[in-house]
C-alpha cells in the first residue's frame, strides 16, 4: 500500500481548505471520496486521466483565447477531483443565490421603470446614467412577464472562516453553465462509483427548469408553438463551444444575428422554408450589439429593429437588453439597503467589502488603505485588469492614485480575499494531491413558476498558482466539477435522451436557417474537394516514388493535370513541367497559405464545419478534429515523400469515414440534402474537368496515363475485375463517364444530383436548373463508337476526343451555374451585411 495522499498535501492556515479541517482531519463529506481516491492505483488513475483528456480533446471542448496569436482554440483544462459540497451548506448557498437573482431582477425593473431607487438616494445616478451599460432606448420597455433577468451567474468565494461571499455578479449573458455540464459528463465517468454512491445531485433538472421558464414566458399568438433560439456572436467568441453545446443540449437552434430579421414588430428566423417567428431569444451576445438601429450602430452583428419588437412585448430577450448594467462591482455596497427596500428582506449572502470611489468618504478610505485593496473598474464595459495596491510602487502608484482622483466614479476598491483551497490532482507527479485556490460560479434561472431555480453545482474555477488571487479562464486557469450532495433521492431526469414529447414528434429540419444550409453545402463541397486533391497528390507522389524521382511521361502528365486543376501552382514561364516537383508537391500538401493546397482545403473544411458545429454528431466532429490535429502536427516537421504518402493515405481514410458519417448518421433533412448536393457537385466538376483536360493534354498520351486516371477516379479495381487487361481509352471512358453504376463516375453524379434537385424543386418550390439536364442529355447522346478504333497513344487532338472534352467542359460550366443559382436562391440574402445610414 502506497503512503496516503495526505502525507504531502499542503495545509494552509491563511486559507479555508475544502477537504481538511483546521486540525488536519478530513471533513466528513469528503471522507468516502478521499478514501476512494487514496486507494486508486497510479496506473488506474493514469488511465482515468487519459480518458478525461481524450474526452475533452475529442468532444472539442475549447475555450478560445483572444490573446493567443495562433488564434487556435485551447482545450478546456479540467481537474478530475470534484469540489464536494454537503447538503446543509448548499441549502444556504442556494437560497442566497435565488434571493440575489430576484433582487437584481427587481433592480432592473426599477431602473428601466420608475427609478425610485434614484429618487430615494439608494443608488447614485453615476452608477446608472454614468454607465454605458445603461441603455436609454430600453427605458420604459417592459419585457413579457416583467422578467428582465432570466439567467444569472454569480462568482462566489470562501473566506478563511468558511463563509461564502459574492465576488462578482454576471447579468449580461452569463457563461459557463455549458462547461459545468460538460465537466459533469466527463468527471461522472472518471469516478462512476463515487458519483452514484455519494448521492450527487444531477444538473438536468436545472436546465429543464430553464427551458420551462422561457417557454412559459413566450408571447404566443393563438395557435403558435414557442420557438426559442440561442443567439451567438459566432465562432470567434471565447465561449462559442458552449453556445453550440447548450443549443444542442437544450434543443434550441443556434443562430447568429444575420439569421434573424425584424419585420414590423415581429422577429423571424430566416429558414430555408421562409420566415419563422421567434418568441424567445436566449442571447449570448452583449446587449449593446443587439440592435444597430437604436444601440451601437457600428456593428454588423445585431438585429436591426429588435428593440421595437421588445417594445411591442412580442419577444422575450433573455436577459433583457440593458441588464449588463448590474454587473458593475460598484453596486455591491448599495445592495443591503436596496434589498430591504425592494424585497423587504435582509440580503442573505454578503458581497466582498467594496468601496465605490465616487463617494467622498469611500475615496478617502481607499487612499488610506491602498495597500490592502484591489482596484477594479466600476463599469463592466471598462477594459481594465484588477490592480493590487501593494504591488504598485513609486511613479506607478502615483499615476494610479491620480487616475482615481480624476475620475473617482469609474473605480471601485475591494478587500483582498484569500480564496479557499481545494485538492487538485497534480499532472506533474506520479501520484500527488496539491492544493489550489478555487472559486465557484453558481447559476440561477427563472423557472416555470416565475421563481429562480439554482443549479445544484456549478463551475468550480481553479487558479493557476498556489498563491493566486485571481481566477480567470482567459489567463489559463482550470476548472472542476462541483458535486452537491443530497440526503434525499437523486432525480433521474435527463435531457440527453429525452422521453417522447411533442418536440420530438416535430420532424427535424423545419427550422434550418439559410446560413446553416449554406455552410452545410460548403462543408459538402470542401470535404469532396479535399478528398479530390488528396487523391490527385497521392497519384502524383506514388508515381514519383515508384520511378525514384525520374521524370517519366506518367509523372509529367499527372503534374500537368494538377496544375490545370489548380492543385499545384501554375509553373513559371521558363521551367519545364516536373522541375523541382518534389518540393512543389510537398508544399501543395502541407502549406495552408498556398492556394488550392490540401492544407488550405482542410482549413476551409474546418471553417465550414465550425459554423455548423451544433449540427454535426460527436463522431463526426471527432473525426474532423483528428484530421486537423494530424495536419497541424505534420506541418511542423519536414516530411519525406514516403511520409507524405502515408499522410495522404490517412487523410483519405478520414475522408471516407467522414463521408460514411454523413451517409449513416445525419438526419435526412434539407440540410443533409444540401450537403450531399455540395459533395456531388464538387465531384462532378472535378471529374468533368479532369477527364476533359486529360483528353486534351498531349502529355496524357504517354504510357501508364490511363492507369493513373483510373486510380484518380478510384476505379482501378472495378476496371481490372471487368477487363483484366491494360487500360484502353474506350472502356476507361465508359467506366468513368457513362457507367451509371460507378459511384466515382460522371453519370452516377448527375443521376444523384437530378434526384435531389427534383425533390428540392417540388418541396421548396425552387426552379429546376435546365442547363445541367441539357448538358447531361448532350453528353448521353455522345456515340461511344467514335472511340472504337482510336489509338489513344497516337491520336493528337483528334475530333472524337475534342468533342467529348467539349461536352464535359459544358457540363462543368453547367455545374458552376447551378452552384451560383443555388446560392442566389437560398443563401445570398444571408451574406449581405446591413449598413447604417445617417442624415442630419
Amino acid at each position: 500500500m502506497a503512503r496516503t495522499l495526505l502525507a504531502i498535501y499542503p495545509h494552509s492556515a491563511r486559507r479555508y481548505d475544502e477537504m481538511l479541517k483546521a486540525d488536519g482531519e478530513v471533513r466528513p463529506h469528503w471522507r468516502r471520496f478521499f478514501a476512494h481516491l487514496d486507494a486508486v492505483s497510479p496506473e488506474d488513475m493514469h488511465q482515468r486521466l487519459d480518458f478525461a483528456d481524450r474526452r475533452i480533446l475529442e468532444n472539442g471542448i475549447t475555450y478560445n483565447v483572444y490573446a493567443d496569436p495562433s488564434g487556435a482554440d485551447r482545450p478546456w483544462v479540467l481537474d478530475p477531483v470534484p469540489l464536494i459540497i454537503p447538503p446543509d451548506e448548499w441549502a444556504e448557498v442556494e437560497a442566497a443565490v435565488a434571493q440575489r437573482a430576484a433582487l437584481l431582477n427587481a433592480i432592473l425593473a426599477d431602473l428601466y421603470g420608475p427609478q425610485t431607487l434614484l429618487a430615494k438616494g439608494l443608488l447614485p445616478p453615476a452608477l446608472v446614467y454614468g454607465q454605458h451599460g445603461y441603455l436609454w432606448p430600453c427605458q420604459g420597455v417592459k419585457p413579457p412577464g416583467d422578467i428582465w433577468l432570466h439567467h444569472y451567474a454569480v462568482d462566489l468565494a470562501r473566506s478563511p472562516n468558511g463563509r461564502w461571499w459574492v465576488i462578482a455578479d454576471r447579468t449580461q449573458a452569463p457563461s459557463g453553465a455549458g462547461y459545468a455540464l460538460e465537466n459533469r459528463l466527463v468527471v461522472s465517468r472518471v469516478f462512476p462509483e463515487m458519483f452514484r454512491d455519494l448521492h450527487v445531485q444531477h444538473l438536468a433538472d436545472f436546465f429543464r427548469d430553464q427551458q420551462e421558464g422561457l417557454t412559459k414566458l413566450a408571447p404566443l399568438d393563438p395557435g403558435e408553438q414557442p420557438h426559442i433560439v440561442l443567439l451567438t456572436p459566432g465562432p470567434y467568441n471565447e465561449t462559442y463551444f458552449e453556445h453550440a453545446y447548450l443549443a444542442r443540449y437544450l434543443g434550441f437552434p443556434l443562430v447568429e444575428g444575420q439569421d434573424l430579421t425584424v419585420r414590423g414588430d415581429t422577429v423571424f428566423l430566416k429558414t430555408l422554408r421562409g420566415l419563422k417567428r421567434v418568441h424567445v431569444i436566449l442571447r449570448r451576445q452583449d446587449d449593446d450589439y443587439c440592435d444597430p438601429l437604436e444601440l451601437r450602430g457600428d456593428s454588423a452583428l445585431g438585429i436591426p429593429g429588435l428593440l421595437n419588437v421588445a417594445r411591442a412585448r412580442r419577444v422575450v430577450i433573455a436577459n433583457a437588453l440593458g441588464s449588463g448594467l448590474l454587473a458593475s462591482g460598484a453596486l455591491m455596497g448599495f445592495l443591503p439597503a436596496i434589498c430591504r427596500e425592494l424585497l423587504g428582506e435582509k440580503l442573505a449572502m454578503p458581497s466582498v467589502a467594496t468601496w465605490w470611489c465616487g463617494e467622498k468618504p469611500a475615496l478617502e478610505f481607499v487612499k488610506e488603505n491602498f495597500d490592502d485593496l484591489v482596484i477594479k473598474p466600476a463599469y463592466p464595459t471598462q477594459r481594465m485588469e484588477p490592480i493590487f495596491g501593494h504591488e504598485l510602487e513609486g511613479a506607478e502608484r502615483e499615476e494610479m492614485l491620480r487616475r482615481i482622483e480624476a475620475r473617482p466614479h469609474a473605480y471601485v476598491a475591494q478587500e483582498m480575499v484569500n480564496l479557499a483551497q481545494a485538492p487538485t490532482w497534480s499532472r506533474a507527479h506520479e501520484r500527488r494531491l496539491i492544493a489550489r485556490p478555487v472559486g465557484l460560479r453558481a447559476y440561477a434561472a427563472i423557472n416555470g413558476e416565475g421563481e429562480y431555480s439554482v443549479m445544484p453545482g456549478g463551475l468550480t474555477r481553479v487558479a493557476q498558482g498556489a498563491g493566486a488571487r485571481i481566477i480567470s479562464m482567459q489567463r489559463g486557469g482550470a476548472s472542476k466539477d462541483t458535486w452537491v450532495l443530497t440526503n434525499g433521492p437523486v432525480s433521474e431526469f435527463t435531457l440527453l435522451k429525452t422521453s417522447f414529447g411533442v418536440r420530438d414528434l416535430v420532424r427535424a429540419g423545419s427550422n434550418l436557417t439559410s446560413r446553416v444550409v449554406e455552410n452545410l453545402f460548403w462543408l459538402g463541397r470542401y470535404s469532396e474537394r479535399f478528398d479530390d486533391s488528396a487523391r490527385l497528390l497521392r497519384v502524383a507522389l506514388a508515381r514519383l516514388v515508384d520511378v525514384g524521382g525520374e521524370k517519366t511521361q506518367a509523372v509529367a502528365s499527372v503534374l500537368e493535370l494538377a496544375q490545370r486543376l489548380g492543385v499545384l501552382p501554375k509553373p513559371e514561364e521558363d521551367t519545364e513541367v516536373g522541375e523541382g516537383s518534389e518540393h512543389v508537391l510537398l508544399e501543395a500538401i502541407y502549406d495552408p497559405e498556398q492556394p488550392g493546397s490540401l492544407a488550405g482545403n482542410i482549413r476551409s473544411l474546418m471553417w465550414s464545419a465550425t459554423h455548423v458545429r451544433e449540427r454535426l454528431s460527436l463522431d463526426h466532429w471527432q473525426s474532423l478534429n483528428r484530421l486537423q490535429r494530424e495536419q497541424q502536427t505534420a506541418q511542423k516537421k519536414h516530411p519525406t515523400l514516403t511520409e507524405a504518402i502515408a499522410f495522404l493515405d490517412r487523410v483519405l481514410l478520414v475522408s471516407s469515414s467522414l463521408n460514411g458519417f454523413a451517409m449513416d448518421n445525419m438526419t435526412r433533412d434539407d440540410g443533409w440534402r444540401f450537403l450531399i448536393i455540395g459533395r456531388r457537385l464538387e465531384r462532378l466538376s472535378f471529374l468533368a474537368r479532369g477527364i476533359a483536360d486529360f483528353l486534351c493534354m498531349e502529355s496524357a498520351r504517354g504510357q501508364g496515363c490511363l492507369e493513373w486516371l483510373l486510380e484518380l477516379a478510384d476505379s482501378i479495381i472495378t476496371y481490372r475485375s471487368r477487363y483484366s487487361r491494360q487500360a484502353e481509352l474506350l472502356p476507361v471512358i465508359d467506366l468513368l463517364v457513362f457507367d451509371d453504376s460507378n459511384p466515382h463516375g460522371v453519370t452516377f453524379q448527375t443521376n444523384v444530383l437530378s434526384r435531389y434537385l427534383e425533390r428540392m424543386a417540388s418541396e421548396l418550390g425552387a426552379d429546376y436548373d435546365l442547363r445541367l439536364s441539357q448538358a447531361v442529355e448532350r453528353l448521353r447522346a455522345f456515340d461511344l463508337v467514335k472511340l472504337e478504333h482510336l489509338q489513344f497513344s497516337q491520336c493528337r487532338s483528334c475530333l472524337p476526343c475534342e468533342e467529348l472534352a467539349g461536352l464535359l467542359y459544358d457540363l462543368d460550366a453547367a455545374v458552376a451555374h447551378l452552384s451560383d443559382g443555388l446560392g442566389m436562391r437560398f443563401f445570398t440574402h444571408v451574406g449581405d451585411v446591413s449598413r447604417q445610414t445617417m442624415a442630419l
Partner: protein, 321 residues
C-alpha cells in the same frame, strides 16, 4: 413680446442607385413641446409608403417615429413640414449674473447618500455623465477652467465658455465627420455646430455640470435684396445648460454663433448628444450609395415674397410624384 411664426420644410432624399431590399429608419423629425414653443401644424410625408410605422416618445420626451420598408425600393424621400411659433425666452443679462454659483451647483448635483436628490436635479443629472459622442476628460475641464473661477455664476461661466469656443475655433465643414471625437476637435480647433455643441457639453460635464444637446433649425437671413433660397438652410445644434432657479431651469447657448438662442432658434429635440436624437438614422440592406441629400428651409410666416417660392417648390415636387 409677440411669438414669431415659421414654416419649416426639412427634406431628406436618398437615391440608392440599386435596390434596397429591407430598410428600417428612426425619425427624430417632429418638434418637441417646450414652454416657449407651440406647434400648430406638422406632417411628415414619406415615399415610398412605409410597410410599418410606430410613433412614440423617447426616454428624453422627444417625439420619435420608427418606420420600415419590406419591399425593394431605389429611393427614399422624407419630407417634414411644420408651422411653429417661438416666444421670446432669452434671459436678461442680470438673470445670468443671478444664477447659482457653478461650484455650489456641482456640489448639489453630486451624490450624497444622506440626502435624496431633488426631483429637478435628478432630471438634470441624466445629462451629467459621458455619452457616446461626449467623453468626459480632464483636458476639457482644463480648457474651461478660466471661465469658471470659484463662485462664478454658472450661466456667466457658460457664456464665457461659449465666447471662448467661438473665438478660438473655426467653422470648417471639411474638418470633421459625425464621429470625430471631441478631443480631436479641441486639438484642431475646427468643426461645425455639432462639434462645438459636443465640445461645450463635454467641458461643462467635466466640471460636474449638466448640459443637454439641442437639435433644431436656425433662421438664416438672405443677403440684402436677394430672395430667400429654398433648401439653403441646414439643421443646427446648440447647448442647453442646467441652471436651477431660472425661469425654465435650463438656458440655451449657441457656441457656433456666440449668442443666446431666442426666437430664431427652433427646437426639434433634446438629448445627451447627437446619437440620442439624430434626425434620421437607419439600417439598410442592399443599395449602392447611402449619401443623403438634405434640404432645410426656414421661412418666417410674415415675410411676403417667400411663401410663394416655397409653394412653387412644393407644387413642383407634387407634380413630379
Amino acid at each position: 413680446m409677440e411669438p414669431v411664426r415659421y414654416h419649416v420644410l426639412h427634406e431628406t432624399t436618398y437615391e440608392y442607385g440599386s435596390p434596397v431590399s429591407l430598410s428600417q429608419q428612426q425619425l427624430h423629425l417632429s418638434p418637441r413641446f417646450l414652454p416657449w414653443q407651440s406647434v400648430h401644424e406638422q406632417r411628415i410625408d414619406i415615399e415610398p409608403v412605409p410597410t410599418w410605422r410606430r410613433d412614440g416618445q423617447d426616454a428624453f420626451g422627444n417625439p420619435v417615429s420608427w418606420i420600415s420598408f419590406h419591399a425593394p425600393h431605389e429611393s427614399l424621400r422624407i419630407r417634414s413640414a411644420m408651422n411653429i411659433s417661438v416666444r421670446p425666452h432669452m434671459p436678461a443679462s442680470a438673470d445670468l449674473e443671478d444664477s447659482i454659483a457653478w461650484d455650489k451647483l456641482r456640489e448639489r448635483l453630486a451624490y450624497d447618500a444622506a440626502q435624496p436628490p431633488l426631483a429637478e436635479d435628478l432630471e438634470a443629472v441624466r445629462f451629467l455623465f459621458e455619452s457616446p459622442h461626449v467623453r468626459v476628460k480632464h483636458e476639457l475641464a482644463q480648457y474651461a477652467a478660466d471661465c469658471f473661477a470659484p463662485g462664478t455664476p454658472v450661466l456667466v461661466g457658460a457664456r464665457a465658455l461659449m465666447a471662448k469656443i467661438f473665438d478660438e475655433f473655426e467653422f470648417d465643414p471639411e474638418a470633421t465627420t459625425v464621429s470625430t471625437p471631441i478631443l480631436e476637435v479641441l486639438e484642431n480647433k475646427r468643426g461645425v455646430c455639432q462639434d462645438f455643441a459636443h465640445l461645450m457639453i463635454g467641458c461643462l460635464r467635466a466640471l460636474g455640470l449638466a448640459a443637454r444637446y439641442v437639435s433644431g433649425y436656425l433662421l438664416t437671413r438672405p443677403p440684402p435684396g436677394k430672395p430667400r433660397l429654398i433648401g439653403a438652410d441646414a439643421s443646427h445644434a446648440w447647448v442647453s445648460v442646467y441652471a436651477p432657479g431660472t425661469a425654465d431651469d435650463w438656458v440655451d447657448f449657441d457656441p457656433t454663433n456666440n449668442l443666446l438662442p431666442d426666437t430664431e432658434h427652433i427646437t426639434l429635440a433634446l438629448g445627451r448628444d447627437f446619437s440620442d436624437i439624430s434626425p434620421l438614422r437607419g439600417i439598410i440592406l442592399g443599395g449602392g450609395s447611402a449619401e443623403p441629400e438634405v434640404a432645410v428651409t426656414v421661412v418666417p410666416l410674415d415675410e411676403e415674397e417667400i411663401p410663394e417660392a416655397l409653394l412653387a417648390a412644393t407644387e413642383a415636387d407634387k407634380a413630379a410624384d
